[in-house]
Symmetry: D2
Subunit: 138 residues, 4 copies
């Protein structure tokens, strides 16, 4: 997989120490955040083109929040110069909250809109990956 | 002030209900996040041009994190369609953590670098504004 | 104005040379981009809460594009380490295109939605500021 | 590849018409932008942790610009409600400029820093994908 190979390759050649962070959990969290951000941006736009867009307004809003938070989380997790435990933990908690809300909302439209079904799947994966990384940071 | 007038003007003409959120605290939090993001982006780059950049590596890193988190927080606080209390609270907590870490770091270089002194001020204002909004959301 | 004072204060204490870039035009372009990004994010969300949201779908879409491009442009213009003329010019051209399209669209709804009227004003200011900076870079 | 399947799956279930845009070129451009943004963010941070960071200041700066532009480009390309040819073309041109500059810079450090070698590869792929999409839009 091309994307993973760039990211994990750079991470594998990073001069900083990584404290006790598990590399596999870290890689999965970054990849899940990036994939979820992309899914949420695309789902928001697909919802916007639906005829019944008014019924999807809340879904679009949480999609946009989730995309922004996942992108920011992926960036913070990709930096290792001067690791800051408090900031890392707090952004992971926020990312989990956004992914959970977005998945809950998208799942309600999953039977009607395939883009919501796929987006909910991306959100659940990201929620899980961030929770597992959080647990490992404790 | 031009920036505030666009933002508060749009907020004042938003069709959504605002629950019990205090508009003055909300406006100040959004403006403080936007100003802090801008200060952190500029401070990171000013640090990068200093001769003693190696001594500022951690400062640059937390500047970048803080810019990303403040931008995301300002976006989430600017949306009111389908207000989500959990996500709003969690991103405010994360923003406070980043602003505090960035202010702590920049203050150590404030005597030597005026850009760090100004950035620390922007971070402290944002830390305070987000905390006050958080307290009001409880 | 607090925001301007952080940004221009940091810019005024930046160690890098600024080539021949006019500082007043640069400051105005950064401030206009930041204000426009904030206006577009807020306008997209206000549109999303309108009853006739289906008629505003294209407006929401260009609002989101314009917010993203203005934010990226403000970041690139806030960096001065190793100035890159090609990238700076190209991102300004793209920002002008997005601001023009967003202003054109918002102006069509300005009589009905005050948030669109205010957003169009922010977009026109940003379009003009970026064009003037572009002309000065030639 | 998990990331591609979310994105292309949502794109394949999007209700909007796609004009004459070639889906394979579009998918590759979005994926290349996302991968390049991630590589540039990680490379900037890896450079920041190098002992000789002062020699990499310009590399870090263009890495940050390229990450921001690739992220914005991937978002704009992921939206299809009300396609705007002018904005799409202009952001692709800017993205090509940033990828080219970043690849040129990273290639100079590729022999010494593996993270720069990998990042240059991600930038060249993205430069090419955006150029091919641009050519197809003409």
């Amino acid at each position: 997989m091309v994307l993973m190979s760039y990211a994990s390759s750079i991470l594998g050649n990073h001069p900083a120490e990584f404290g006790g962070i598990d590399r596999a959990l870290l890689n999965e969290a970054v990849d899940a955040c990036v994939a979820c951000a992309q899914a949420c941006t695309a789902c928001a736009d697909a919802c916007l083109s639906e005829e019944q867009v008014a019924a999807l307004a809340i879904c679009i809003r949480i999609n946009l929040d989730c995309a922004d938070l996942c992108e920011t989380t992926s960036r913070i997790l990709s930096r290792h110069t001067g690791y800051d435990r408090n900031v890392t933990r707090a952004v992971l908690v926020a990312c989990v909250a956004a992914c959970r809300s977005c998945a809950d909302e998208c799942e309600q439209h999953a039977a009607m809109h395939e883009h919501c079904r796929v987006c909910a799947e991306a959100c659940r994966r990201c929620e899980r990956a961030c929770q597992e990384l959080l647990a490992a940071l404790t």
